[in-house]
């Protein structure tokens, strides 16, 4: 796999990143220090009104957690990305992202004027600015996922953030099944209980990967995923 790596870079903590991940490539995200959080959002780059749909993703796969074998569905019944590799086992799809008020309440305000690029940033503003670069705005930001983070729900519906979910060196690989605009943000998870604002860096690397075969584990995870792959293939006819 290493020989196929096309590029790699470090995404600092508290930063936002975007890239049109082409069909036939995969993005590996590696937690360099442990306890990273990477908020992620996905759109069909060719038709940006088609975007990641969280309920469709959870319902189709009967899950409220994401791990290897799961795929990210668009609202049009197609697969934007597949989780082909994952050493974490639980990524949080329900708790959403930080905003400016939440960050200020938890960590206090630390402005650019005070701290230069060490300022307290939040994921919502990061995503909105990044969407703006593609001509989109607040109406285009729907539900997101938190890679590397875990939130469990008890029998009464109470949500509990689980510390230390991701060890140093953990990684997840997302294979693009469409030409997918991927947006990432490395602000802390909104339920992170660390009293200090300490967003973690991750490494991003993009590889060329073979097209999924009929027996691909993501495609065969459940009949819903198989139909999602069929609908995605129809789109490219």
């Amino acid at each position: 796999m290493d020989s196929s790596v096309l590029c790699s870079e470090i995404l600092h903590g508290g930063a936002t990143w975007s890239h049109v991940l082409k069909r036939g490539t995969a993005l590996r995200i590696t937690d360099l220090e442990g306890n990273a959080n990477v908020a992620a959002y996905f759109l069909n780059f060719e038709n940006r009104s088609e975007r990641f749909n969280l309920p469709d993703t959870l319902k189709a796969q009967h899950t409220a957690r994401l791990r290897a074998g799961h795929v990210l569905f668009s609202d049009m019944g197609r697969v934007l990305c597949s989780i082909t590799e994952d050493t974490v086992g639980w990524h949080d799809p329900i708790a959403g992202i930080t905003n400016a008020a939440l960050i200020e309440k938890k960590y206090g305000k630390l402005s650019y004027q005070q701290a230069r690029n060490g300022w307290h940033q939040n994921a919502r503003d990061g995503f909105l600015i990044e969407l703006g670069k593609y001509g989109m705005g607040p109406r285009d930001l729907h539900s997101t996922v938190n890679l590397f983070s875990k939130v469990v729900v008890d029998e009464f519906g109470n949500m509990q953030y689980v510390r230390n979910n991701s060890a140093k060196g953990s990684y997840i690989e997302l294979r693009a099944e469409m030409n997918t605009l991927v947006l990432l943000n490395t602000c802390p998870h909104p339920l992170n209980d660390d009293p200090d604002y300490s967003p973690k860096p991750v490494e991003l690397s993009i590889s060329r990967v073979p097209n999924p075969m009929r027996d691909d584990p993501c495609r065969t995870l459940c009949p819903e995923n198989t139909r999602g792959f069929v609908l995605t293939e129809l789109y490219f006819l």
């Binding site: 749909n53 409220a64 569905f73 329900i94 905003n99 109406r139 469990v152 729900v153 519906g157």
Partner: protein, 219 residues
């Protein structure tokens, strides 16, 4: 810890400002003014009422499921839940609830998601996101699919297990059960009275819902 929070309302239907019937499979759009109270009644039982809310003065500021459940620390909506917008505003508060649990993770059905979930041949079947689009087009204020974000499924039961499984279960609702919300600001409400026939969310028989509005300033 908070579980279901049953609380009947003291408001009398005879005193309502207005009353509407939303037939199964129909969209419904209504502006609700600050301090007005809206009641949604599951007339015949086991009916999912898919609902979106917007700040009436800025439609980009809309109900956010993820912010709402995270800030209350619980994935189910019931009496006391404050429905938060994407900009952090409180749109409405649930002030009465005789059902006890409402879902906001299960989303709204669509022709496309039915093809994934049930069969590619199901494209023709009526679905909530068809109704949402029709409702927005009829409202004719420039809204489109980008405005169809995370919704609430009143009267629907979508439990999540501690192991992270998500299931659709028989409704906890029954004929005549209702949920009541007080508008904390001027809001736009968009409803799809769910036409889904492929799972138990409507008991395989979609039925009408009633919408009642009270003007609390004149009570």
């Amino acid at each position: 810890m908070h579980t279901t929070n049953l609380k009947p309302s003291s408001l009398r239907p005879e005193a309502a400002l207005s009353s509407y019937i939303v037939e199964a499979g129909d969209p419904f759009v209504l502006e609700i003014r600050k301090d007005q109270v809206v009641r949604i009644v599951d007339l015949e039982g086991n009916q999912a009422v898919d609902t979106l809310f917007y700040n009436a003065h800025d439609y980009a500021d809309r109900y956010s499921a993820q912010d709402t459940i995270r800030e209350q620390g619980n994935i189910y909506l019931t009496t006391g839940t404050r429905l938060l917008s994407s900009n952090g505003n409180v749109l409405l508060t649930i002030v009465a609830d005789t059902c006890g649990r409402h879902d906001t993770l299960g989303g709204a059905c669509a022709a496309e998601s039915n093809m994934v979930r049930y069969d590619i041949g199901k494209r023709h079947m009526h679905a909530c996101r068809q109704s949402f689009l029709k409702g927005l087009q009829t409202w004719n204020h420039g809204m489109d699919k980008s405005d169809i974000a995370s919704n609430i499924n009143f009267f629907m039961n979508v439990p999540v297990t501690p192991e992270g499984k998500l299931t659709f279960e028989d409704g906890v609702s029954d004929a005549g059960k209702y949920v009541e919300l007080r508008a904390e600001m001027d809001v736009l409400m968009l409803i799809s009275n769910c036409p889904q026939l492929n799972n138990p969310c409507n008991g395989y028989n979609p039925t009408p819902a009633q919408i009642l509005i009270w003007d609390t300033n004149v009570l």
